[in-house]
Amino acid sequence: MRFDWLYRESGRIAELFLWHLGLSVIPVVIGLLLALPLGWLAQRAGFFRSTLLGAAGLLYTIPSLALFVLLPLVLGTRILDPMNVVVALTVYALALLVRTVSDGLESVPPDVIQAANAMGYRRLPRLFVVELPLAVPVIAAGLRVAVVSNVSIVSVAALIGTPQLGLLFTQGLQLRFLTPIIAGIVLCVLLAALLDGLVLFAAKRMTPWQPGGAER
């Protein structure tokens, strides 16, 4: 490890870290916002369920590098545009979370729903006040997987040149220099642990009724 190199490059590394943070978080947030209505539809309608979950599984099958390369063709963007990475990762997050949201809503006990009905809740208020809060543990578990794997997939985008910590890997290989590679791996793992912890913490705060908080 060459700490003097790290010190000299700390400004650039911090910038790459922030890019990495944004590229990991934004797609998951968009993916979750899209997955909530879609997962709800999938859980309610049997036909939607198999079609939506099938389509999601298909999207999840496409290797990330292939998706990064193909999206410019679909979106009309340039190959270096970070937009490609955001859209690709949103697709992955969405594919994963649709199933999670639908499973989460499925995990709400029928007694609770009947009780809510008896208390006079209409469909939408019931969804927001009763069902979604109870689905939080399952959704949070899926969210943790999505966030953590996103942090790892983002670094692949270095191969097409998008700025983030993955550039430390390509640079390290070109220079045959271990310091940036180790720094990149450590920062990726730290970022993943940080975001994972954040989701876990938020889920715990949102589920005070759970004995040990939200566990996997």
């Binding site: 298909l58 999840y60 099958t61 496409i62 290797p63 990330s64 590098l65 292939a66 998706l67 390369v69 193909l70 410019p72 063709l73 190959i79 997987v145 953590v148 794997s149 942090v151 790892s152 670094s155 692949v156 270095a158 191969l159 097409i160 040149g161 910590l165 993955g166 430390l168 890997f169 390509t170 390290g172 290989l173 045959r176 271990l178 590679i181 180790i182 990149g184 791996i185 990726c188 793992v189 993943a192 642990a193 994972d196 996997r216």
Partner: protein, 223 residues
Amino acid sequence: MIAWFSDPTHWTGSDGVFALVIQHLIYSGVALFFACLIGLPIGLYVGHTGRGVVLIAGLANALRSLPSLGLIVLLVILFGPVFASDMAFIVPSIIVLVLLAVPPIMSGTYAGVAAVDPAAVDAARGMGKRPLDILFDVELPCALPLIFSGLRSATLQIISTATIAAYVSLGGLGRLIIDGRAQNDYYQMAAGAVLVGALALLVDLAIGILSRLTVSPGLTRRL
């Protein structure tokens, strides 16, 4: 891109599409073989005995957050000088592929065995089966659906990461993407991406069929 695909010189020869697909499949197959060799016994052991569950879950989580590209580059620089010629990048790439594929196989196998109906295991024990016979005659067949789902995610992970390993000069379809990027030839990159996507979908389909053929109909009818 259609022009790229319709040029016959892109299909044949030592760096043609056919050769690249075969290379991709060979590296993926080798990695999957070693990953099964490691992941299946550990998963069966943990599922059967219930020991080490926390360890498996923790390991799977930790490995998921490791950036595969960083790992490949790290191993290539560390091991590169040790091996001669092509092995300098093939061995590190395969190691990373195996490393990424073991957790899903291991946790799929574990979850499959752990989820087997205890009544079935008790019945087998009541019939006088020994622990190892229970494992292979009852628990393993009943766990097959989840084992296959673990195998599926492992295989997709391998195919996806083998594409990335083209960056450290591993052969396979990733070559088209990486070389296309280097030569500023977008159509070659796009063709490579389409081919990798198609390969992943086909392999996924093949595993689905294999799982349908091998899983006992008694299980699928109930599930």
